[in-house]
């Protein structure tokens, strides 16, 4: 999956956006994760001691500025949701 990484507005998190247009049935995929919040537009999950947001358009937000770490986490999540 091709994606791009950007810094969030608050400059304390990274968002990973797929370059291809996708739409994910989050409520279907929710069972694959340790979910804190499940909604049709966003999942919030616990993953490797972090709180990660997954959006229905495939965007993933990781609260770190470590691009390598964010990329690795996003790749793991994309294996599950795509």
């Amino acid at each position: 999956m091709d994606f791009e990484i950007r810094k969030c507005k608050g400059k304390a998190a990274l968002t990973i956006n797929p370059k291809k247009k996708v739409r994910i049935d989050l409520l279907e995929k929710a069972k694959e994760f340790d979910c804190l919040v499940e909604t049709p537009v966003m999942l919030i999950i616990k993953y490797e001691d972090m709180i990660i947001n997954i959006y229905e358009n495939g965007k993933v937000r990781v609260p770190t500025l470590d691009e390598e770490k964010a990329k690795k986490i996003a790749e793991e999540i994309y294996k599950v949701i795509l």
Binding site: K9, G10, A12, V37, E38, T39, V41, I51, P63
Partner: protein, 204 residues
């Protein structure tokens, strides 16, 4: 007279608190915790600002569940206005519980989506308790100048992950009618009750 100060992790509400404390108001700060939409760092910013302003305790309210409920069932563009309506409703109940007669907020006209005049009107219609907004007509530069003077600016501008409940295109001209229509889809009273019951005092 006692009032509740709605204290976020941002620049404005600590300044609002400082100004009203200077006027002799007895304030109890209240932090609405949007976890997991906002994270521990945001809460810590609010607590550090409260300590900077010489408060000894903060009332922390679990607000994330309410936001999730709205997100599941309602029109996303109203998320921020709904969030503030619920904060005011819960704060009104907490005010009664803690003997406060008013709320103090750091709202500043037209600074962010939830603070257009339309949205402010739609928000305050959710409650009856008087709301004191000492910064409503201030320029941002004035607020920043005061924040720097009182030592809260550095705390308020620490980088933290943004609140992820904010929609991509928040409504800027919400009406009460539209909001009531959305709120009918969820149980507002139950959500208020849950937040009030879940509130905890954190000693600084």
């Amino acid at each position: 007279m006692k009032a509740l100060l709605l204290l976020s992790g941002g620049i404005d509400s600590p300044v609002a608190g400082f100004l009203m404390k200077k006027k002799g108001l007895d304030l109890l700060p209240v932090y609405f915790d949007n976890y997991p939409f906002s994270l521990e760092e945001t809460k810590q910013r609010a607590l550090d600002n409260a300590k900077k302003l010489d408060f000894e305790e903060v009332l922390v309210v679990p607000h994330g569940g309410t936001l999730a409920e709205f997100m599941r069932s309602c029109n996303r563009k109203y998320q921020c206005v709904f969030c503030r309506r619920m904060m005011l409703r819960v704060a009104e109940c907490l005010a009664e519980k803690h003997g406060a007669k008013a709320l103090v907020t750091g709202e500043n006209l037209a600074q962010v989506a939830s603070q257009t005049l339309h949205n402010l009107l739609a928000e305050f219609k959710a409650v009856r308790i008087p709301i004191i907004r000492p910064l409503i007509g201030f320029d941002k530069e004035e607020i920043i100048r005061i924040a720097k003077k009182i030592g809260t600016y550095e705390i308020s501008t620490r980088p933290v992950p943004c609140c992820t409940a904010v929609p991509r295109k928040p409504a800027t001209t919400a009406t009460e009618e539209a909001l009531l229509g959305e709120e009918e889809k969820i149980s507002v009273e139950e959500l208020v009750e849950k937040e009030v019951e879940g509130s905890r005092i954190v000693r600084l």
